[in-house]
Symmetry: C2
Subunit: 206 residues, 2 copies
């Protein structure tokens, strides 16, 4: 299988959302031109992204919205209920627990972790806060595969190392620091202040 | 001036953080190799990114950490205090108000907006929640240049349109939808669930 770029995968997620909106509106077929137009990209890009995964749609007839969404769901692994954990129940962490889009897309918070004795043992939105010391047991018992890390910057690498030792291979990291991981482990970074800096760069260079 | 890619700008933000950490540790000079190693990229990439903006450092001597951080701060527009507004004071919005990294990098929340009559007029972290109807007045009086949008997906386009009419040109959008904007306006998207889908794709294709 060819190496697919992160950008292609990101656009598949976007197409998935576009198709969901169209299906909600009872639209049964859609062309690559229409998908492209909704997302401000070219139709050649849409066709290229999809071509990595097979032949979808019929020439001249476009794509069946439900079939294409279904195919993309398979590609992205969205047909499964993913059990995820949250490390760090501060402001950002607590907000994420209540972020409905995660659940809509099949990502369910199953365990919370923190190192603050005042938080450990309490419940947030019906989920118990566990000690970082209990990571391996809780991860195994709950079959957790993805961990969202919302701990202070200086602790992020150490916390992620603990989860890696317990077998976790996929992380979404909100700490603004580059994390080093062994091969076979993927960390995606959610760099909110870096996005803001792209805006200040844009406004400054004008 | 050449068109600089978003990836280059994102890496400059990362180098800025690397240099800040080194300066905290009293490190006075650093090589492109060292910056590269900390961030899991090649030193050729570091040199190429910096070369777009001039000649920094001395051949064989590396970069002075404070000078280079200062240059990058100028490029990214980080020497100025940016006044930012938040549209939507739900879970995510409230968490962002307390996200310290924004302030550290020079982005200061100055106004909050919501359309919920129960929230309008209240204060959160010392900032008054204004009605979306008052956007133009509040934006102008407070010289706000960047707006963070954390409203429900279906409202995002309409809310951003209101701010654009009042002269705002830069947005950080947390709603999971592609926003259409006229030329001269930049929207950066914070797609948290799309990043999670990149992880589920990664775990699925294994």
């Amino acid at each position: 299988m060819k190496k697919i770029s992160d950008s292609t995968i990101g656009r598949l997620s976007t197409y998935y959302r576009t198709l969901s909106t169209l299906i909600e509106k009872n639209v049964e077929t859609v062309s690559s031109d229409e998908i492209a137009d909704i997302n401000n990209i070219t139709s050649a890009q849409v066709r290229k992204d999809l071509s990595f995964f097979g032949t979808f749609g019929k020439r001249g007839l476009g794509y069946n919205t439900k079939d294409l969404r279904d195919e993309i769901a398979s590609i992205l692994g969205l047909k499964k209920k993913w059990k995820i954990a949250l490390a760090g129940v501060g402001n950002i962490g607590r907000a994420l627990i209540n972020f409905n889009e995660f659940k809509t897309q099949g990502f369910h918070f199953t365990a919370l972790f923190d190192n603050d004795p005042k938080k450990i043992g309490t419940e947030i939105s019906g989920l118990k806060v566990h000690s970082i010391d209990d990571v391996c047991t809780v991860i195994k018992n709950n079959e957790i595969e993805i961990v969202i890390v919302a701990v202070p910057t200086k602790m992020a690498q150490d916390v992620i190392d603990v989860f890696i030792k317990c077998g976790v291979k996929a992380f979404l990291n909100f700490a603004q620091v580059t994390i080093k991981v062994p091969e076979g482990v993927l960390v995606k970074n959610e760099n909110m202040s870096i996005e803001l800096e792209a805006l200040s760069y844009y406004l400054t260079k004008e």
